[in-house]
């Protein structure tokens, strides 16, 4: 059992309220870094001093927030109205158990029983705004004693390992967080490694923007968990990435064109170390690279991600070999960084 992944995915940190994850990671890394601090948005930033070979600051980012729900109103019958925090498909929510607020009250998202539905309602999607979280309170006053407006609610999933995979909530992006924790536990790097465990990625890459402003790195690497659509499909279309095929390398998404020089360095390094990798299909989506690449005067940035099926649900599935290879690949990519990699052919 990978205890690190278990601890990190079971911790709760919905965007904007990431304290539990922040405290957990602080405890996981404090013995392995030279300095750490928390900025005003709640980013946990840490410096692992380098061996002094390369006079660079290299930022490695992993966002600590997860998608979830926010309580917006308490109904007279004691149920809770909510807004999704981050992108959650309405079809994900019915029949789910959630943990509400700092007290982690158990709540459920139910719906009208199938027996009472008209036939044309049986296949229609219920909208999030029409759903409620039921914590068992009898009325508004009773619920108000337990829950405050603005409290976040997160999915509840116990980490499990199944076959070659691990299943849990919030692998996006606790898988990246775990990889970054492992990188920090290694030997010093040739340069100062600036670890950024950032908040509010799921609501617009906001933590990474201010973190990169503060850290002023020369180069940045983002560790992520990217959706895999490698399910049986009659059409010959892209699976985005596939589980078990290795770390996924970003080239382009809706927020960035990754630095081509770093992408080349990553793929060359993977090949030379016999680490499998796959190019994540270019197109939509986005990672903190979008904010970091354009911080201040701009900097070279790239993304390595663990493929995860069933993104933004309570049951994300990753392949444990992919995860191990992300840690390995990120490690050698960092250790083999040189100024020559960033030379332009001019």
């Amino acid at each position: 059992m990978n205890e690190l992944l278990k601890q990190l995915t079971e911790a709760v940190g919905v965007s904007g309220e990431e304290k539990e994850v922040r405290l957990l990671i602080r405890d996981l890394i404090r013995d392995y870094v030279d300095d750490w601090w928390v900025d005003t948005m709640g980013n946990l930033l840490a410096i692992k001093k380098g061996a002094g070979v390369l006079n660079w600051r290299v930022m490695v980012d992993a966002h600590i927030d997860e998608v979830g729900l926010m309580v917006t109103e308490i109904d007279s019958n004691g149920t809770l109205k909510f807004d999704p925090v981050g992108t959650i498909d309405d079809r994900t929510l019915l029949g789910k158990v959630v943990q509400v607020g700092p007290k982690k009250l158990t709540g459920v998202i139910g719906a009208r029983p199938i027996h009472l539905l008209k036939s044309n309602q049986r296949h229609s999607v219920v909208k999030a705004e029409d759903m409620r979280i039921d914590i068992g309170a009898k009325n508004k006053e009773a619920a108000g004693r337990q829950v405050k407006i603005g409290d976040r609610a997160a999915f509840v999933t116990e980490y499990e390992e199944i076959g070659y995979t691990a299943v849990g909530k919030a692998f996006d992006n606790r898988a990246g967080c775990a990889a970054l924790v492992e990188l920090l536990r290694g030997e010093p790097y040739p340069f100062d490694l600036c670890a950024a465990f950032t908040v509010q990625e799921e609501v617009g890459l906001r933590g990474a923007r201010v973190a990169s402003y503060a850290l002023r790195p020369d180069v940045a690497l983002v560790l992520e968990c990217t959706p895999a659509y490698d399910l049986p499909n009659e059409r010959d279309v892209s699976p985005n990435v596939a589980l078990g095929r290795g770390p996924s390398i970003y080239v382009m998404d809706s927020q960035t064109i990754q630095d081509p020089r770093l992408v080349a360095h990553i793929t060359r390094t993977a090949a030379s170390h016999n680490i499998p990798y796959q190019i994540r299909q270019p197109g939509g989506g986005g990672t903190n690279t979008g904010a970091i690449q354009r911080a201040q005067a701009g900097l070279p940035a790239a993304t390595i991600a663990v493929p995860g099926r069933y993104a933004h649900t309570p049951t994300i599935m990753i392949n444990l070999d992919d995860y191990a290879n992300v840690v390995k690949l990120a490690g050698v990519v960092l250790r083999e960084l040189t100024p020559e990699i960033l030379m332009r052919n001019a």
Binding site: I257, Q296, A297, G298, R344
Partner: protein, 332 residues
């Protein structure tokens, strides 16, 4: 000037892969600057310090080097390529068009069997054929970028090509600095990257330089074709001074000054209000402490197709207005 235009518009440079265009431009402008550098994202930044009678303001002028294009997302078993857009690619322009990859490979775009030919079908219903017969023998992999190809045509005043957006802006800047004899301003001529995917290059340049004034040079659509959208700008009616687009409202004082300079110098101009689209000026305006931003637009029909059409007199008017703006004092 047509030879310079031809050279630039026919070059390969989808957003993120502008190296070739940048080197062409660097060669053109090298004689005019002592200080030329390339930043982390690939923006080409040329600095011209103020003349002795300066100092004026710190002025950033930018045209973007990138063009729209496509990127491969999937290679099918039979060796066809599925793709996504780089920037604003219109599906109705695709069928039958050709693209070129960085290694020179040419691909033809066509659509799947479709039941309804009266509709516009999304990008996902199109594919690229590079002549491969299987995934194994296909020379192009996932993540490869391609630009559209089309040769440059000049018919009288009308110039037609792919990538007039915004190589014509680059030409305006290059020609302007060839004619520039003096300037009281601390001038930065920037040939920016990744405009088509969200004015990203100009953002980091403005962050780094915090200019007082930012002027983008870009194209703007016209409203003078049959049943066109309601736009006052017409082809051949002069350079266009932008007041507003969907991303920014130009600095009122800068707009006033552009208009005044055009009037004084007898440069034909028109005022532009654009409801869709934006330029590098948007990023410059909101970066850091902000700057007075505006845009000199070259009217252009058929934007984001392979037959973008401009009028050489409008290009000339844009060059003259840019020279007037940067060579004389700017009071806001």
């Amino acid at each position: 000037m047509n030879e310079l235009i031809r050279k630039l518009v026919e070059a390969y440079g989808p957003s993120g892969f502008e190296d070739g265009v940048r080197e062409l431009i660097r060669a053109e402008i090298a004689p005019y600057f002592n200080e030329i550098r390339v930043d982390a994202m690939g923006n080409l930044i040329a600095h011209r310090p103020p003349d002795a009678d300066g100092p004026g303001l710190k002025v950033l002028v930018a045209a973007h080097t990138d063009e729209i294009g496509v990127m491969v997302t999937h290679v099918t078993e039979k060796g066809f390529l599925r793709f996504t857009n780089i920037g604003g690619v219109f599906p109705h322009n695709l069928s039958g068009s050709r693209v070129q990859f960085a290694d020179g490979t040419i691909g033809v775009i066509y659509w799947e069997r479709l039941d309804d030919h009266t509709k516009v079908h999304p990008l996902s219903k199109h594919y690229i054929d590079v002549g491969a017969t299987s995934r194994q023998d296909c020379p192009i992999g996932v993540g490869s970028a391609a630009g559209f190809t089309r040769s440059f045509v000049a018919q009288g005043r009308r110039l037609t090509a792919k990538s007039m957006d915004d190589r014509i802006g680059c030409v305006v800047m290059i020609e302007a600095l060839k004619r520039l004899t003096s300037s009281p301003h601390d001038l930065y001529f920037v040939f920016s990257v990744q405009e088509e995917v969200g004015t990203r290059g100009a953002e980091v340049v403005a962050n780094a330089l915090t200019p007082d004034v930012g002027i983008a040079v870009d194209i703007t659509p016209t409203g003078d074709m049959p049943e066109a959208p309601t736009l006052a700008v017409g082809l051949g009616q002069g350079t266009a001074i932008k007041v507003k687009d969907s991303g920014m409202i130009a600095h009122a004082g800068l707009v006033r000054l552009m208009r005044q300079r055009a009037e004084e110098a007898g440069i034909p101009y028109q005022m532009e209000v654009l409801e869709r689209g934006s330029t590098d000026a948007r990023s410059m305006q909101i970066a850091g402490p902000g700057c007075a931003a505006g845009c000199i637009s070259v009217p252009c029909r058929y934007a984001h197709s392979t037959s973008e059409t401009v009028d050489s007199e409008d290009v000339e008017a844009s060059i003259r207005l840019l020279v007037e703006m940067v060579s004389r004092p700017i009071q806001l």
